[in-house]
Amino acid sequence: MTTKQPNNLPTWLEQPNQLTSQPQRHNFLAHNQQHLQHLLARLSQPLPAVQSKRWQLSPSISLLRLGILILLIALTNNTGWLWVLGLLLAGHLLQLSPSQLRRFSRSWLLSTLIALLVVLPSYWLVGPATVLLFGFKTGLILASTQYYRLTTTFQELLSGLKTLHCPNIFIMTLAIAITYLRMLGHYLLQTMMALDMRMVAPAKHPYRLIGTLFGNLFLKSHAYALELYAAMEARGFNGHYVNQPATTNRWHDMLTLTPYLVLVAVFIFGRTYGIN
């Protein structure tokens, strides 16, 4: 009778062995590695965009909606109006799942806090009313931007820009930039790790490494651009960005945009009747 061999590796082999390095005086490489890893994690695992299956918006309408909302928030100085716009935004936020909502709240609070820190000294210059109004408006603008980020994929953003007649060269640059940001970031991270491992003593001055790091990155990008263009041509690239056919219901789009258009109309003509 043979004894059954375990299929799994021992625990100590399965756990990644983290190399600890001595903290150095100029440990800027380690700091930047952390930043890059954070960015790469965000880029490689984008949050799933929250989309209603029954009520899908076309990308251009969603971009237009964001523009109108931000413009209205920026233009108004009436707290009542801001409250109405806040309610509209809160209604949209209800579509988010609890985990998405928690994530939204965290990042929104953090960004609003940073914005407020900059404007807080004006309390002593102009008084509390301006600081409160400014804080409220900034918070609303940041909330609407983050809601857009959570609910829109990058492809939708590109389609939206195309529908709004953005030049092809601009859209293509944007598409290539977001696609290859991750690749270049990964290459930079690997180079930094290699440099960090090869260094047996702290560099005389950290600036000496910068030229090598980014110079290499540029040369690598240049070589890659040549290969990329050859691949683009091989796939029949003709310099035009193809617009995806509309998959959304036109009536839904119009219906979703209606409250915003009504608000714009009330904002413009409301002054005559003392509403705004």
Binding site: T138, L157, I210, G215
Partner: protein, 327 residues
């Protein structure tokens, strides 16, 4: 330097988008021409935008234990060309605003104007001057330092003008609450003392590396085939120079002591012109107020313009290096 939303009034944001729109148009036209000569420029634009993004993410240690980051505007202009850099940096600024919340969406025009237009253009102009005088690295260093500082100054002015442009009846500012006396020193101090040096050193180091390893990968300026458009432009401006005569009043701040005295009296400020002005230096120029002999003033304007153009052309000619060798 990324201005968030709500710090600039929508009117300022709109004006700045309108100001940048012609630059974008020219950039697209120029880059399309560049793509015809160097086909890899198209993917390079996108990749350069990612490169700019990574440069802005990369923190460099500075004395005092803190860190700062470069923007890379001048560097990109030297590596891929100034117009391509304008487009690549515009895309970077848009990406940062839309995906990472760094900089505003309404303020996109302002941020693009500061970081994607002023910075690479100022930096590249200085670099070209350096190349002309056979000191490209010096030109690049000065360009990178000046580029980021001019951009910071403009951002400071944009922010500092807000309390003057948009305020309530009681004078409370509606957008950025700090005036020019706060914003300009705040923006400039940080950039003149820290960020400018970081940008300049970073730019020169990367340029040095690329120049040493692969000098052909640097952006090569295509020689201008014709100077005719410049001649037309200068000629047109010379012909149009008397246009200002249509305005009957003297330009603000250019009054003679007698005219100033009259204005002050009309506005009930004072019955006399300031003593310093009356008793100060009164230099009589050769062609005072562009009048040449008994010729009509408009002809005097045109002749003065032609004189100035010729003097500057002669000066430039004298400073240029000779292309032909003498036997």
């Amino acid at each position: 330097m990324h201005i968030p939303d709500n710090y600039l009034s929508p009117a300022t944001c709109g004006t700045l988008v309108l100001a940048v729109a012609p630059v974008w148009t020219v950039a697209v036209i120029k880059v399309k021409a560049q793509i015809k000569e160097k086909r890899e420029t198209l993917p390079m634009l996108g990749i350069a935008a990612s490169l700019a993004f990574l440069i802005m993410m990369f923190n460099l240690p500075i004395p005092g234990g803190t860190t700062a980051h470069a923007v890379g505007g001048t560097l990109l202009a030297v590596l891929i060309g100034p117009w391509a850099a304008v487009l690549a940096l515009t895309v970077t600024v848009l990406l940062q605003a839309l995906l990472f919340g760094d900089g505003g969406i309404l303020a996109f025009g302002a941020n693009a104007f500061n970081m994607a237009v002023i910075m690479p253009m100022v930096g590249y102009a200085c670099y070209r001057v350096g190349v002309k005088f056979k000191h490209p690295k010096v030109g690049l260093f000065i360009g990178a330092y000046l580029g980021i500082n001019v951009a910071a100054l403009v951002a400071g002015i944009e922010l500092g003008l807000q309390p003057l442009l948009a305020h309530t009846a009681s004078g409370a500012p509606l957008y950025c609450p700090y005036g020019l006396n706060v914003t300009v020193p705040a923006m400039l101090a940080a950039h003149l003392l820290v960020a400018g040096w970081v940008e300049a050193i970073f730019t020169v180091l990367v340029y040095q590396f690329v120049h040493k390893v692969a000098p052909t990968n640097l952006y090569q300026v295509t020689p201008q085939r014709s100077r005719r458009p410049w001649a037309y432009l200068l000629g047109g401006l010379v012909v149009l120079s008397p246009l200002g005569l249509l305005a009957s009043n003297t330009a603000w701040g250019e009054w003679s002591p007698a005219e100033l005295k009259q204005r002050l009296a009309e506005q009930h400020i004072s019955q006399q012109a300031p003593q310093g002005m009356v008793q100060g230096l009164h230099f009589k120029a050769l062609f005072q107020d562009y009048t040449i002999g008994n010729l009509p003033i408009s002809v005097g304007y045109i002749l003065s313009a032609i004189t100035a153009v010729l003097i500057f052309l002669l000066l430039m000619r004298g400073l240029q290096h000779d292309n032909q060798t003498t036997k």
